[in-house]
């Protein structure tokens, strides 16, 4: 049996999810006696491909074409489906990133595969893959199996550990897919964020602020702390609706789903819709002056206190730790 792991890259650099997806494929592959084949799609990706061997890929397939430099729904889904067919892969893993979530349903139809999205765990029981995923905004979990011959899963970023590379490199094979018949959609521009801060959906550390910060200006202390930790800024819907922060930073049910190693919630009450987006974070710190705030029920560490005193003290202490 073969497992196809889609290794996402942008600008010839792997996303962290690429390693997570390959490693997760290896983990279930070992139990199913299946071989892991990683797929890298883009333009000029040959040189980055071999390193996926270090995470468990027995082979890497690259599909290169200058038209594939930027993601296109129709082209990428065709490439993924054709590669899966050529290899006879029966299991496909993709990241539940913007790209993976967009492509997976289309690939699933092409392969007549059942698809489980946004999985937080994959286990193998008597040869069957069981996927677990949060439902009802994380208030419940569902366990699912796929009934079709080809089975697809997207994996929530930051939840599956990639671990460290064992240093081995995998053989690379290139495969060409005809995309001349595909409507590429044309990409006018990439709107990048200024300031170079990480995107909240990808950051390993997030410092998030809520209405307790009282004004847009007061986010300066959140920005300082986030920059110090090389992290991203998150926001509750209340502050996005108030126009203090951009919607790209909103975490929660109607915003982004995040799972960083560390999530620091400052002046956020912890409404269910906010928790839906961040409760699978590895460590949660809450800073709130109300000891009854629901955010404390999910926090690993809490400080009941005034953000305007606690945050500067925390920043100073971290600077000390870093020797700054």
């Amino acid at each position: 049996m073969k497992i196809l792991a889609f290794a996402e890259q942008r600008s010839s650099q792997f996303k962290k999810t690429a390693f997570e997806v390959v490693k997760a494929a290896k983990t279930i592959g070992d139990q199913l006696n299946a071989e892991v084949i990683a797929l890298v799609v883009g333009d000029k990706v040959q040189s980055i491909a071999p390193q996926l061997g270090g995470y468990g890929a027995a082979k890497v397939i690259t599909v290169e074409n200058e038209k594939l430099e930027k993601y296109s729904t129709t082209a990428y889904s065709k490439v993924i489906a054709e590669t899966a067919k050529k290899e006879g892969a029966e299991i496909l893993l993709l990241p539940a990133s913007a790209m993976g979530k967009d492509a997976a349903p289309r690939v699933a139809i092409k392969l007549e595969a059942g698809l489980v999205s946004d999985c937080t765990a994959l286990t193998v029981e008597n040869g069957t893959i069981k996927a677990a995923r949060p439902v009802f905004a994380g208030k419940g979990f569902a366990e699912l199996i796929v009934a079709t011959k080809i089975k697809m899963f997207t994996l929530r970023p930051n939840v599956f550990s990639a671990g460290k590379s064992d240093g081995s490199s995998a053989p690379v094979e290139s495969f060409s897919v005809d995309i001349s018949d595909v409507d590429m959609g044309s990409y006018v521009k990439d709107v990048k964020h200024t300031g170079g801060r990480k995107d909240v959906a990808e950051a390993d550390i997030i410092v998030a602020g809520g209405r307790g910060l009282k004004s847009a200006e007061n986010f300066a202390m959140i920005e300082e702390l986030a920059d110090l930790l090389d992290g991203a800024i998150g926001a509750s819907r209340a502050v996005v609706d108030a126009g203090w922060r951009s919607i790209d930073e909103q975490v929660g049910q109607t915003g982004k789903t995040v799972a960083p190693s560390l999530y620091i919630a400052v002046g956020i009450s912890g409404a269910v819709q906010h928790l839906a987006g961040m409760s699978s974070s590895k460590y949660i710190v809450a800073i709130n002056k109300d000891k009854e705030a629901p955010i404390f029920s999910v926090a690993d560490y809490g400080i009941v206190g005034d953000a305007f005193e606690v945050v500067p003290a925390l920043t100073a202490e971290i600077k000390k730790l870093m020797g700054k």
């Binding site: 699933a108 199996i145 959609g185 919607i247």
Partner: protein
């Protein structure tokens, strides 16, 4: 222009989840249902599209009789027509998408609007599935849309930025928060909605591709540690993050 919008009927976000007796769904008693929030953005965009180009907006929902409540809401917001694809059984995303795609094809949709995800199972699949089933483009997490000369220019969210995509219509536009401000139904809209008929159709049966084998509550997280009650606690917090959690 023939405009279709998919609307789903879901438990409201404040619902306390209890696992049902079957062990694979939630206990429905005491749960309030509503139009899924992302579908409100989809309905609003459908109505704006009609305002610009004329035509008709058909709201369609697949589910049991209870979904009529959500269809009424869509009518109250201003949709012209409501269609219930009646199937009280729980379908997987593929089963839902197949029913909706069959309808859109038969209706002859020029553009289809869907929400990013249903806030019950949060699958975020149906829009893309329908696009592929119909062989037309789909654009997900759309935060801005312009239509001119049969081409939709959509801005979609990706990590760290936005990209702009042009697609030829017909296409599926999958709405994300930020696309617009959904209107509130007017009193007249609500009154009119009560009188408008809801058309019923029986969707063709489909074999499920994904099966839910269990549903359970998240493992209770033991309440965390309150490190302190003032700024002085920052010292201990940093120590814990560095030495115990090892995250900084």
């Amino acid at each position: 222009m023939k405009i279709v919008v998919f609307v789903n009927h879901v438990p409201d976000t404040e619902t306390k989840v209890k696992i049902g007796a079957d062990g694979v769904s939630i206990e429905p008693t005491g749960v309030n249902y509503m139009l899924s929030p992302y579908d409100e953005f989809a309905v609003e965009e459908a109505l704006k599209t009609k305002q610009k180009f004329g035509g008709e907006v058909a709201a369609v929902s697949l589910g049991g009789d209870a979904n009529k409540e959500t269809l009424r809401k869509a009518l109250a917001m201003g949709c012209d027509k409501a269609v219930l694809l009646k199937d009280a059984s729980v379908r997987d995303s593929f089963g839902v998408a197949k029913g909706l795609a069959d309808f859109a094809k038969e209706y002859g949709a020029d553009i289809i609007f869907a929400g990013k995800q249903s806030i019950d199972y949060d699958s975020a699949q149906v829009g893309g599935l329908v696009g592929e089933l119909l062989g037309i483009p789909s654009v997900s997490v759309v935060v801005k849309l312009d239509i001119a000369d049969g081409v939709a220019t959509a801005e979609r969210e990706i990590e760290g930025g936005h990209v702009i995509v042009h697609v030829k219509l017909p296409a599926v536009i999958i709405a994300q928060k930020g696309l617009n401000e959904p209107r509130y139904p007017s009193l007249k809209g609500i009154m009119d909605a009560k009188r408008k008929p809801i058309e019923e159709k029986i969707p063709a049966p489909v074999e499920p591709r994904v099966i839910t084998t269990a549903m359970y509550l998240p493992p209770a997280k033991s309440a965390g540690k309150i490190v302190g009650t003032d700024a002085a606690a920052a010292v201990e917090l940093v120590r814990l993050l560095h030495e115990e959690a090892k995250v900084i």
